[in-house]
């Protein structure tokens, strides 16, 4: 049985996303753990997730660290753990040195615009740039000088939700499966 309509029940399709940009897509989820083995035991056995240590290029944490970053597949995934079928998000996981940190979407932002410009627009709309690492281990000052697969900025929205923002390096070719966009 194929996937059926579930929710919501609306009379129109979503708008078309025709820009050659992934700005605003909620690419995966950010989740934290306190004890690695306990965390793995839960998600492997309850939800059947599969996981690898996140490469240093994505986590900023050297290989073999006792508190590694993880990339977790919650459904079918490519070799780099990008989802390979529509409809699910994989998870970007890191260790919380203190209490667990707010969950939130790992979102892509405009890869053509300067990082500072993109973030300033969010601040102008009532967002806040989080720099306090005790609030999120991923918080950091803006640095658009080098290409990176790490989270580039943690932003708090007007209601206090955390958005983990990532600017794709210029290596994107638009042949990647996930880069499809709507054609008018």
């Amino acid at each position: 049985m194929a996937e059926k309509t579930t929710y919501p029940h609306t009379n129109r399709p979503p708008k078309k996303f025709t820009q050659k940009s992934l700005h605003g897509r909620t690419r995966c989820g950010v989740l934290t753990y306190k004890e690695l083995r306990r965390f793995q035991n839960f998600y492997i056995n309850v939800f059947g997730w599969d996981m690898i240590e996140a490469p240093e290029a994505a986590s900023g944490i050297p290989a073999g660290d006792p508190h590694p970053g993880l990339i977790m597949a919650t459904g079918p995934a490519q070799y780099d753990y990008e989802g390979v079928t529509p409809g699910h998000m994989n998870m970007f996981v890191h260790w919380a040195p203190g209490e667990i940190e707010p969950m939130g979407p790992f979102m892509e932002i405009d890869m053509e615009a300067p990082l500072e410009e993109t973030i300033q627009k969010m601040i102008d709309h009532g967002g806040k740039l989080i720099l306090d690492k005790s609030k999120s281990a991923l918080a950091k000052p803006l640095d658009d000088s080098k290409q990176s697969w790490e989270v580039h900025a943690v932003i708090e929205d007007p209601a206090g939700n955390y958005l983990y923002l990532w600017k794709c390096p210029s290596s994107r070719t638009w042949d990647e499966l996930e880069t499809e966009y709507d054609v008018e």
């Binding site: 049985m1 194929a2 059926k4 309509t5 579930t6 919501p8 609306t10 399709p13 992934l22 700005h23 605003g24 909620t26 989820g29 306190k34 306990r38 035991n41 839960f42 998600y43 492997i44 056995n45 309850v46 939800f47 997730w49 599969d50 996981m51 690898i52 240590e53 490469p55 240093e56 290029a57 994505a58 919650t74 459904g75 079918p76 995934a77 490519q78 070799y79 780099d80 753990y81 990008e82 390979v84 079928t85 409809g87 699910h88 998000m89 919380a96 707010p102 939130g104 979407p105 290409q147 697969w149 007007p158 209601a159 939700n161 955390y162 290596s171 990647e176 499966l177 996930e178 499809e180």
Partner: protein, 224 residues
């Protein structure tokens, strides 16, 4: 000069100017010495070097986090997929939130028909979708902006399961808690759980829904 670099360890291809090649594979972390090079031919799809990714050992230790292609998820029939994110807002803040996400991120946002018009639950399309409002491209999700309440966590995620009761038993068995037993909202059945670390999540029962990839296997991804 732009080239395509294919990682011999994991099979991941990536295009870069020679001067900007990363020191390690962003897919698996293997060092630069593992990259196979070819000239840029205009498209990753037209590359001539293809590396078969390592085979998945069905008996591998699931706790081993060294690089390996993800397992075959088809037998789970969708169970365990993270389907939606949830973010909260305060009473009376709905329009501020709608504006923030529409103006800055270009989302398409609709109110859920069964929710309070003053403080609606808003369903958000963050990228290309199908006519029935599911993402139609891989590797991203849709989600909800909803008024914060004491018995429904936010921010959070919604995980698809095939059987809420069975999943709740496993949650307790593996160190989590069931915070709210099965409830119905918008015609869908949910429960709220807490994982072993204290993260609070929704589970969403889709008993009879089987994703297409379970009946039409995916090929050429190296991971299936």
């Amino acid at each position: 000069m732009k080239k395509i670099y294919t990682c011999f360890n994991c099979g991941f291809p990536i295009a870069f100017e020679e001067t900007e090649v990363p020191a390690a594979c962003p897919g698996c972390g293997a060092p630069r010495s593992q990259f196979l090079e070819e000239p840029w031919c205009g498209s990753i799809d037209k590359r001539r070097i293809h590396v078969a990714p390592p085979e998945v050992d069905p008996n591998r230790d699931p706790f081993d986090i060294s690089f390996h292609p993800a397992k075959d998820f088809a037998p789970q029939k969708g169970d365990g997929r993270v389907r939606r994110w949830v973010m909260g807002y305060h009473e009376g803040q709905a329009e501020e939130m709608r504006s923030f996400y529409q103006d800055l991120f270009g989302w398409d946002i609709i109110d859920c028909e069964d929710s309070d018009p003053e403080n609606p639950t808003m369903y958000c399309a963050t990228g290309p979708g199908t006519p029935d409002w599911e993402p139609r491209v891989c590797s991203f999700g849709y989600g909800f902006l909803k008024k914060e309440t004491s018995d429904e966590p936010s921010p959070s995620f919604i995980i698809e399961v095939k059987d809420i009761d069975e999943t709740c038993k496993k949650v307790v068995e593996y160190g989590g808690k069931v915070l709210r037993e099965r409830f119905t909202q918008g015609g869908e059945d949910y429960a709220v759980i807490e994982d072993s670390e204290g993260n609070q999540l929704y589970i969403w029962e889709l008993k009879d829904v089987v994703p297409d990839y379970c009946t039409h296997p995916i090929t050429n991804t190296g991971a299936q």
